[in-house]
Every structure is written in structure tokens, then in C-alpha cells.
């Protein structure tokens, strides 16, 4: 039996290489895409899942809802609550802080950047992390301890066994000597420890001085928790409201607490680490997150590719069934029972599926590195997993593609077949099935194509959208890590003196800002008292020439106006006085000004301080395009009296290349701040992380669209080939009756393309709904224009026409006499 199945498949391949080739190629492509995307989806779902007791681990997030702004959730939180957690919640077994910090190792004047985390000694025990060298229990108990990742040990020393080695760490200009006390083994799954090069203990001094350890309103890093039981997470979460009301409450004028009713603006919430990867899409201060539905959609594309491949096989097999009808009739006449024939045809489908599965594995091997580089995720072909999955896929696609055709074939009535002059088409039901499959295939393909077009348009729209400042000819430096006004002035002068520099400015916010400070301001106007929480920035002179924001109303800051200069941080915290400010258009609207001009001259208040609005600028986007723009207030410092807080210089230049200018700026920076690494970069580079994720996923959709279209076209080609074979005779009659080749061509194309157009009608509403939901995630977005849909439909129709054109032309040109004889 088995030998006869293989023999039959071989014979089919020799006699109809096109059919068998299309069948295997389509199925292999489907299986290849399915395997590859399954690997990707499995990877995305594996984030943090490998840590021991992952279901008991969680992170504590803050939720802020301040007046005038969209409420937001932040992963970076205040550590003020840390000592209270274990006291108030016996369910909590362990609490550690986990704070990102940029570290540099300086060698021969060159800085090497390492991603660091400061944490508590219990961190390794809490996550049950394994060390290659050193003792996890004591590694961070000494204040000069340092734990390296394998990769970092290799980068710094060229080997793993480096316990006791000394590393001089430069933290934004502050140098410390650390001793290597541990080498971390590779983490069990992606997530929490991705891109962590070094771990250091939190120093006792940091605990005393750093504001996030002291004040509820200040934040700097994450809090990780381990619960005694998984179900404790929900029960503690439910009691956090009371916890905040008890622990964060204080008098109204108290800096440490959040006032008498803290939960009005502030709550805490627990995010299990198993959910972090998907949850963090809407959380500030997180990276490497992805929307779960995007990953699910990618998984769906994989599954659809497999279904398309199977549908293709069913389509070709039922089409070919007619060709084998005589064989079946003869076998039956010679006494073959139906179940034997059924077994034969199922066996053939299984063999085809097996060959396709092996080819699919080869496709998967070829696709995976490409997908890994497109997504930037460390996906590889995991043979342990594939070894389990592939047999299942082969068997199920063999069944899916084999059962129906085998039933049809083995059910032929021999007498009818042998008496008939034409091969049976399987009746109207089979024709309906074949057309239905092509409709299904094209619906899916067109849907994916439309989504791809929309994603592509949106990502390029985001990249090219006006961000409220002029990006070309602009380079942005690092934080200066200095409050020294003299140094800040010298930095301005030094940079300004470089040939090619046309203007220099300092600001406390930059594209992809390093920190955000928000304060609530009050305006009493015709619409009553309106409170708006605004993002604070401070800018120096020449900000307007450097960033070139659009001034909508009023005037720009001027060092000649005394009230423009200020307030300093001290004046803002404690003093009273009058200053001039500029706000952005979002803030003007939030305060109820209908036109920008209406805001000019109006007064904003906070405590006893008064601020006169002298100008309104268009919104500047320094943040992710997914986040809504914050209302913003700009203070001014002429650098005569008031120093900036960790300012970031920005430089506008002309007449030299960007590379050369960046090199000159970096060199000049080193003369003033030799211990702080310098990297002047264009705004787009700083904001790259906001765009790259969506672009990568867009690329994935493009690949999915190509695969789906290819498989759908294979299906259509198979259908056309079958119809061509069957309709030779009909075309002969039509031509004998006077139809021209052109008329015949139009008739055939109409018939072949009908399912494609039906598919368009089905795909459009579905993709419209999907894309509307996706676009809703962006603050600024493109309209879902009908042009995109028409483009996809036109493209699909064109590709489909090209697919069937060869067959159709051949058929339409057939000589009628020969065609009639074909009977």
C-alpha cells in the first residue's frame, strides 16, 4: 500500500509536474510562514516566563491623573513606599528596587557605554538567577560590588572568570571603583534582564540623598516584588488604594507626602511580570514592549498562511480529481472497494504534506534570520519545539488538504464516468467550494495588503510629520550633568565658536527627554478657574534660532526684559514673584483660550507665583507619537543669573556635513567635560526607538502580505489551469458561433476575477475595522482614505490578472476545430 502510494505520487509528479509543484510549493510556503511566525509569537509570549516562580513576580506601577492631562501609568516610581510594603502586606515575600543607569568605562580617552541597573542584594535570590562565577547571595552586599553579564565580561576582559577584577565606572562624570563579584549566566528568558550589562548595589548615600527615596512625588526606577502565592497579587492590588491613602497622605504644604487626599491624583497598581511585555505598551518609562494584538495578528497571519496553503491543496486536488476520474472508475470496475481508494488518496495527500513540511522547514530556516533582523528579536529555529510542532502540522495539513478530495474521488460512480465524454467537474458544489476557497484566500491576502499599506503610511507619516521644530541641520548633545552656570556658559561659548555652527542653545527637555517635570498651574479667566498640569522646560537664548519652533502669537523671550529671566529652581519651589513664560498651543487650549492670541498677556498662577504668558508656540513633539502631547510651559534663562538643571545643548549648523559637525562638537565637549561621554546626534536618531518598533512590525506585515498574495495566486492559478482544461470545449463552441478571441478573453477573465472582486468586498470592512483600532493608538494619525483600499484592490486585481493571463490567452487563442476535437 505504502509503496503504491509513493509510486502514485511519483507518477503524478512526472505526468503533471505543474500541478504537483504548485501544490507542494503552496503548502510548503504556508507551512514555512506558519513555523516562522509561530517561533516569533512563541518568543514574544516567552518574555519573563522562564524565571523561577514567574507567576509570583510583579512590578509596582504608579498611575497619575493630574488635572488638564491625560492620565498615565509609569513604571518608574517613587521608592518612598518600599519600606512599608513588607510591613503592610505579609503576602509580599521580597521587595527590591531596580533602577536603570547609564554607565561608561573609559579607556584611552574612549568611552564604552554599558546599560547598568542599580538594585538590592536580594535581587538574584528573588529571581533565582544563576551565576557562572561568584555567589548570588553576597554579590551585591558590599557597596563596591559589581555583577557583569557574560557578554560584558567578555567585552571587558575577554574571559568569564574575572572575579575580583577592578573596573573603574564612570556614571555621568562621577567615577567609582567597583570589584567584580559575580558573572551572571544567560537569563532564562527574554524580558527583565535584556540589555543589562552590569548590576551595582544601591549605595547608602543614594538612599539618603536621592529624591525618589525620600519623596512620594519623585520617581527614578522600578520596584519588583515577589509574593508568597500567585493569588496574593490580586488581593494586594485591591488594598493598594487604602495603602496610598494611609502612607502617602500628609499636610497640604508637605513635600514628602502627596497632600491630604493622595488618591485623587495618584494610585499604585501591580503588573505581573508575565504580563509586562504586552502591558507596557501603555506604560511610560518602559521599552521593548509590544501590543498583544499585534503579536496575535502576526500569529493569525501565520495560521492563515497555513490555511491558505491547505486551501490551495484542496483546490488543486478537487480540480485534478476530474483528471483522475477514469482511473478511479477503472479501479472500481476492477473491484477496488471505496475505503481502499480513500486510503490511497489520503496517503498521497499525506506524502505531499510530508514533502511540503520538509520544504516548509527549509523555508523556515531561511526566513527566521530575516525575521530576527527585521524585528530585532533574538529568534532562532528551536528544533526541540519544531520537532514537536512540524509532525502535527504535517498530519493536520495532510488531513485538511486530503479528506475532501479523497471523499470526492473515491465516491465516483464508475458507470457514469466511463460513459461520459467529459471529465466530471464535481458538480456545482465542488465548483462553489473551489470558488469559495479562492474568495477566502484573496479576502485574507487583500486584508493583509490593506493593513500593510495603512501601517506603512502611518509609520512614514509619523516619521515625516511636522514635530513643531526644524529637524534638518540640528544636532543634539548629551545631558551636561551639571548645575554650574559658569560651565554652562562656557559650553555655549565653546560650541558657538566652532566653524559651521550658526546657533547654540540649552534646554532641559530634548527629543526623547531624559526626565520630565510637571507642575499644576491655575488660570482664572472668563471660563472660571482652570487647573492644568504642565510639563516644564527651561530654554536659553537662541532656542528660537536653534530649534526654530513656530511662534503662533506674542513674542519670544528677550534677555533685555528682566521679567523674562527666571524663576530659578529655588524661586520656583519657595519664592514668590512675577515672570514671563511661553506656553504651547495644547496648554493654551487646555486653559480654554480659543485662539493663541487670546492667551497672550494672561496670567497663570501656582502658589504665590504669577506667570504672564508672552507667547504661544505650536506643539513640539519630543515624545512618542503614540502619546498625546503634554501642555507645556517654557521658562527662560539668559545664563546671567540662573543655572539650568542638567541641560542638553542643541546646535544648528550649516555648510559642513553632519558627521564632521558631530565630530567637532564631540571634540569641543571633551575639552570642558572630559569625563562625560559625548554623542551629538540628530533628533531622528534620538527618537528612533519611538518609530522603529512600528516600522519593524510594518515590515513583518509586508512579508505576510507577500506570502499570502503568493499563496492566493497559486490557488487562483490552479483554478485557472483547471478551468482552462475543462473549458477548452466550451470556448471551441463559442468561437465556432462567432466569438472573437478578445470577447473570449474578457469572458474568461471576468469569470476568473469574479472571486477576487468578491474577496475585495469581504476584505475591506474587516481591514477597515482592524486598522481603525490600530490607528486609535496614535495621537497623530492618518485618515483611513479610500485610496488605500482602492490601491490594494487594484493591486490584487492586477496580480490576479497576471496570474491567469497566460492560461486565459492560451485558451482564448485556441483554434476552434482543435478545441472541439478535444472532446
Amino acid at each position: 500500500m505504502i509503496a503504491s502510494i509513493f509510486r502514485s505520487v511519483l507518477r503524478q509528479t512526472r505526468r503533471h509536474p505543474l500541478y504537483v509543484g504548485l501544490n507542494i510549493f503552496g503548502l510548503a510556503l504556508g507551512i514555512g510562514v506558519f513555523l516562522t511566525l509561530t517561533l516569533l509569537v512563541r518568543y514574544e509570549y516567552s518574555f519573563n516566563a522562564g524565571f523561577t516562580d514567574a507567576d509570583r513576580l510583579a512590578r509596582m506601577d504608579e498611575r497619575w491623573s493630574m488635572p488638564g492631562t491625560t492620565p498615565y501609568e509609569s513604571a518608574d516610581v517613587s521608592f518612598r513606599a518600599v519600606p512599608f510594603f513588607k510591613q503592610d502586606f505579609p503576602e509580599i515575600e521580597e521587595v527590591v528596587t531596580f533602577t536603570k543607569t547609564n554607565l561608561y568605562v573609559q579607556k584611552n580617552g574612549q568611552f564604552t557605554h554599558f546599560a547598568g541597573q542599580t538594585t538590592d542584594p536580594a535581587f538574584f535570590r528573588m529571581l533565582s538567577l544563576r551565576f557562572l562565577h561568584g555567589n548570588p547571595a553576597t554579590a551585591l552586599t558590599r557597596p563596591d560590588g559589581l555583577v557583569l553579564s557574560q557578554r560584558t565580561a567578555m567585552t571587558l576582559f575577554g574571559k568569564y572568570d574575572v572575579l575580583g577584577k577592578i573596573v573603574e565606572i564612570n556614571r555621568s562624570g562621577q567615577k567609582t571603583i567597583q570589584v567584580v563579584t559575580g558573572i551572571l549566566a544567560a537569563p532564562p528568558s527574554p524580558g527583565l534582564l535584556d540589555d543589562v550589562d552590569m548590576l551595582l548595589p544601591v549605595t547608602p548615600q543614594e538612599r539618603l540623598t536621592r529624591s525618589c527615596f525620600r519623596f512620594w512625588g519623585s520617581s527614578c526606577g522600578e520596584i519588583l516584588l515577589k509574593f508568597r502565592r500567585p493569588e496574593d497579587i490580586a488581593s494586594v492590588n485591591a488594598r493598594l488604594f487604602d495603602f496610598v491613602n494611609t502612607r502617602a497622605a500628609g499636610p497640604a504644604d508637605d513635600d514628602v507626602s502627596l497632600g491630604p487626599a493622595p488618591t485623587k491624583t495618584y494610585t499604585l497598581s501591580i503588573v505581573p511580570i508575565l504580563k509586562m511585555h504586552f502591558h507596557d505598551v501603555n506604560v511610560e518609562d518602559t521599552d521593548n514592549s509590544v501590543e498583544q494584538y499585534v503579536i496575535d495578528s502576526i500569529g493569525l497571519i501565520g495560521l492563515l498562511a497555513l490555511i491558505l496553503g491547505c486551501a490551495n491543496a484542496v483546490n488543486l486536488a478537487t480540480a485534478r480529481a476530474g483528471l483522475r476520474a477514469r482511473e478511479v472508475a477503472l479501479r472500481k470496475t476492477l473491484g477496488a472497494p471505496r475505503h481502499v481508494l480513500f486510503g490511497q488518496f489520503m496517503g498521497e495527500a499525506m506524502v505531499v504534506s510530508l514533502v511540503a513540511g520538509l520544504c516548509g522547514l527549509a523555508f523556515c530556516e531561511a526566513f527566521t534570520p530575516a525575521i530576527a533582523s527585521i524585528t530585532g528579536e533574538a529568534i532562532r529555529v528551536d528544533y526541540g519545539f519544531i520537532g514537536l510542532l512540524l509532525p502535527l502540522v504535517i498530519i493536520s495539513s495532510g488531513l485538511a488538504s486530503g479528506v475532501y478530495p479523497a471523499l470526492v474521488l473515491s465516491g465516483y460512480q464508475p458507470a457514469a464516468i466511463l460513459a461520459a465524454t467529459r471529465m466530471p467537474a464535481g458538480g456545482r458544489r465542488a465548483a462553489l467550494l473551489r470558488n469559495g476557497l479562492v474568495v477566502g484566500q484573496f479576502s485574507i491576502a487583500i486584508c493583509i495588503v490593506i493593513c500593510t499599506l495603512v501601517i506603512d503610511r502611518q509609520t512614514s507619516f509619523m516619521r515625516n510629520a511636522d514635530r513643531g521644530y526644524v529637524r534638518s541641520g540640528l544636532l543634539i548633545g548629551q545631558q551636561m550633568h551639571s548645575q554650574d552656570i559658569g560651565l554652562q556658559r562656557r559650553m555655549m561659548d565653546t560650541l558657538r565658536a566652532i566653524p559651521g555652527v550658526t546657533s547654540v542653545t540649552l534646554g532641559e527637555l530634548e527629543p526623547n527627554p531624559h526626565s520630565l517635570t510637571r507642575t499644576t498651574f491655575l488660570h482664572e479667566g472668563s471660563k472660571g478657574r482652570i487647573k492644568v498640569q504642565m510639563l516644564r522646560d527651561r530654554v536659553s537664548s537662541d532656542y528660537r534660532d536653534t530649534y526654530q519652533p513656530h511662534l503662533l502669537a506674542g513674542r519670544w523671550f528677550d534677555a533685555e526684559h528682566g521679567q523674562d529671566d527666571g524663576p530659578s529652581n529655588e524661586e520656583f519651589e519657595n519664592g514668590n514673584g512675577n515672570w514671563n513664560v511661553i506656553i504651547n498651543s495644547k496648554a493654551a487650549r487646555a486653559f480654554g483660550f480659543e485662539k493663541a492670541d487670546d492667551a497672550v498677556g494672561k496670567i497663570l498662577r501656582t502658589d504665590a507665583k504669577h506667570f504672564t504668558i508672552i507667547g504661544v508656540i505650536e506643539d513640539i513633539r519630543f515624545s512618542s507619537p503614540r502619546e498625546s502631547i503634554s501642555p507645556e510651559i517654557l521658562f527662560f534663562s539668559s545664563l546671567q543669573r540662573i543655572a539650568f538643571d542638567n541641560p542638553v545643548p542643541a546646535v544648528r549648523f550649516s555648510g559642513v556635513t553632519r558627521m564632521l559637525m558631530a565630530e567637532r562638537l564631540d571634540r569641543a565637549w571633551r575639552t570642558l567635560l572630559p569625563d562625560v561621554a559625548s554623542h551629538f546626534a540628530p533628533a531622528d536618531e534620538l527618537m528612533e526607538t519611538y518609530y522603529s518598533g512600528d516600522e519593524r512590525r510594518g515590515n513583518l506585515f509586508t512579508l505576510g502580505a507577500v506570502a499570502a498574495l503568493l499563496i492566493a495566486c497559486l490557488g487562483l492559478y490552479g483554478l485557472a489551469a483547471f478551468a482552462a482544461a475543462r473549458r477548452v470545449h466550451e470556448i471551441g463552441i463559442r468561437k465556432t458561433l462567432g466569438a472573437t478571441a478578445g470577447q473570449t478573453l474578457v469572458l474568461l477573465l471576468q469569470d476568473f476575477l469574479k472571486p477576487v472582486f468578491v474577496a475585495c468586498f469581504m476584505a475591506c470592512p474587516v481591514s477597515w475595522l482592524l486598522m481603525r483600532q490600530w490607528l486609535n493608538g496614535f495621537d497623530e494619525r492618518i485618515a483611513l482614505s479610500p485610496a488605500l483600499f482602492l490601491l490594494a484592490i487594484g493591486g490584487a486585481a492586477l496580480i490576479a490578472t497576471c496570474t491567469v493571463l497566460g492560461q486565459t490567452l492560451h485558451l482564448a487563442r485556441a483554434e476552434p476545430a482543435r478545441a472541439l476535437r478535444a472532446e
Partner: protein
């Protein structure tokens, strides 16, 4: 003279073999004639009929129809010629399975610019003439052989062609149905239609006005029947 064939030759070439299907055919047919072509299988009758019907091209020679030379016409012009001048009847009926009888008959008209209402009335008239009007909405597979052939005749006459070509029209029919078909053809001829018919049946050939006998791709005899 409606048709004038001179020195018609038709060769079939395959990879290794060259077969002569027709050799030096000379044949003239006048308006209103009813010609029966006879001969053993493989003598070239159907090839001749296909060439007369312009669905096959001669390898050499001239084919004039109503004084116009057809051998040089392009495919599109031939298609136009066919739909305006010819009606076909085949041994195996050649009705399209997916279309109803009515639609099959209408097929002979849809490639011309005839308004739908007129097409409908001409189809109805043609069906009446051959007596299958009650089967208009049926599919070919639901009809008997005789009914299918009558439908095919209706399709051949609906366009009011100048020439009707019939390739063994009674070959697949029983005697009774065969006789009915021959009656219809004779009536059509009596009304003025020119008919060329290939047949194996001497009795049906005798019903034609003229009989042409073929052998090995050549015309061996052409006699006028005494009616």
C-alpha cells in the same frame, strides 16, 4: 455560386509524421443547395466541413464565399464572418452544460449587436420551429439526444445564416429522432437555406439535392440526386 473551393489542401504535421487530410479539393456550391458529403471514417469529411466553417484553415488553396476570398482573413474577421453567415450543427450537439437551452440558443446572437428583446423573440421563434419551446429553461443534461439536437438546430438557425453546416447531425440519434432532424433540415432547405451535411447514412444522404463522395482526402464523385 455561394461557395467556391479551389485546390484546397490540408496537411497535419506532428513531430515525425505528415498526414494529408485534404488534397486538391475543387468544389462549388450554389445558393439554396442541400449537399450531403459521404465517405468512410478518416476520409476528410469533417476537415472539409471545418474548413468550410472557417474553424480550420487550409494549408493551401482558395476559399471564396459570396465572391470574397476567406483564406487571408485574420482571426477576428473570420469570427465576424462566422457569426454573420454560418450556422453549425454537430453530431455531439455541443451544447454548453452550464447554460440553459434558451441561453445556448441565444449564444449564436450575443456576439452580434442585437437588442435583448429582439434576441429573446428570435430565440423563442427558433425554439418553436424545432418544437422544444417547453424545454427552454432546462439544462442540456435534462434533455434526450433528439431534443438536444433540435436545440442545436435552433441555435444554428436563430441567426438566419446564409449557410448551415451539419456534421453527422443524426449520428448520435435513433431512427425516429434522426428522421425528425432530417425533416427539419429539409424544411429549412425548402425555405431557401443552403445546407452542407456530412453523413454516414445513405438514406439521409439521399434526402439531399446533391451528394459528394470522398475517399482519402479527395472528392471522388459529385452527383445530383433525382428528387
Amino acid at each position: 455560386m455561394l461557395i467556391q473551393l479551389s485546390h484546397i489542401q490540408r496537411l497535419y504535421r506532428s513531430d515525425e509524421v505528415e498526414t494529408t487530410a485534404l488534397q486538391d479539393i475543387e468544389l462549388g456550391i450554389g445558393h439554396g443547395e442541400f449537399v450531403a458529403i459521404m465517405g468512410p471514417s478518416g476520409c476528410g469529411k469533417s476537415t472539409l466541413l471545418n474548413i468550410l466553417g472557417t474553424i480550420d484553415r487550409p494549408t493551401a488553396g482558395s476559399y471564396r464565399f459570396g465572391g470574397e476570398e476567406l483564406t487571408h482573413l485574420k482571426e477576428a474577421a473570420l469570427a465576424k464572418f462566422r457569426r454573420e453567415n454560418l450556422g453549425y450543427i454537430f453530431q455531439s450537439f455541443n451544447l454548453i452544460d452550464e447554460l440553459t437551452i434558451e441561453e445556448n440558443i441565444e449564444l449564436a446572437l450575443i456576439y452580434r449587436t442585437i437588442p435583448k428583446s429582439e434576441r429573446r423573440s428570435r430565440v423563442a421563434h427558433a425554439m418553436d420551429r424545432v418544437g422544444i419551446a417547453h424545454r427552454a429553461r432546462h439544462y442540456p443534461s435534462q434533455l434526450s439526444g433528439g431534443q438536444q439536437q433540435r436545440a442545436a438546430i435552433a441555435r444554428a438557425i436563430v441567426g438566419q445564416p446564409r449557410l448551415i453546416l451539419a456534421d453527422e447531425p443524426t449520428g448520435n440519434l435513433d431512427t425516429e429522432n434522426g428522421t425528425q432532424v432530417m425533416d427539419i433540415l429539409q424544411t429549412l432547405n425548402d425555405e431557401g437555406a443552403t445546407i452542407i451535411m456530412v453523413t454516414h447514412s445513405p438514406s439521409h444522404a439521399d434526402l439531399a439535392k446533391r451528394r459528394v463522395d470522398m475517399l482519402d482526402g479527395q472528392i471522388v464523385i459529385s452527383v445530383r440526386n433525382a428528387i
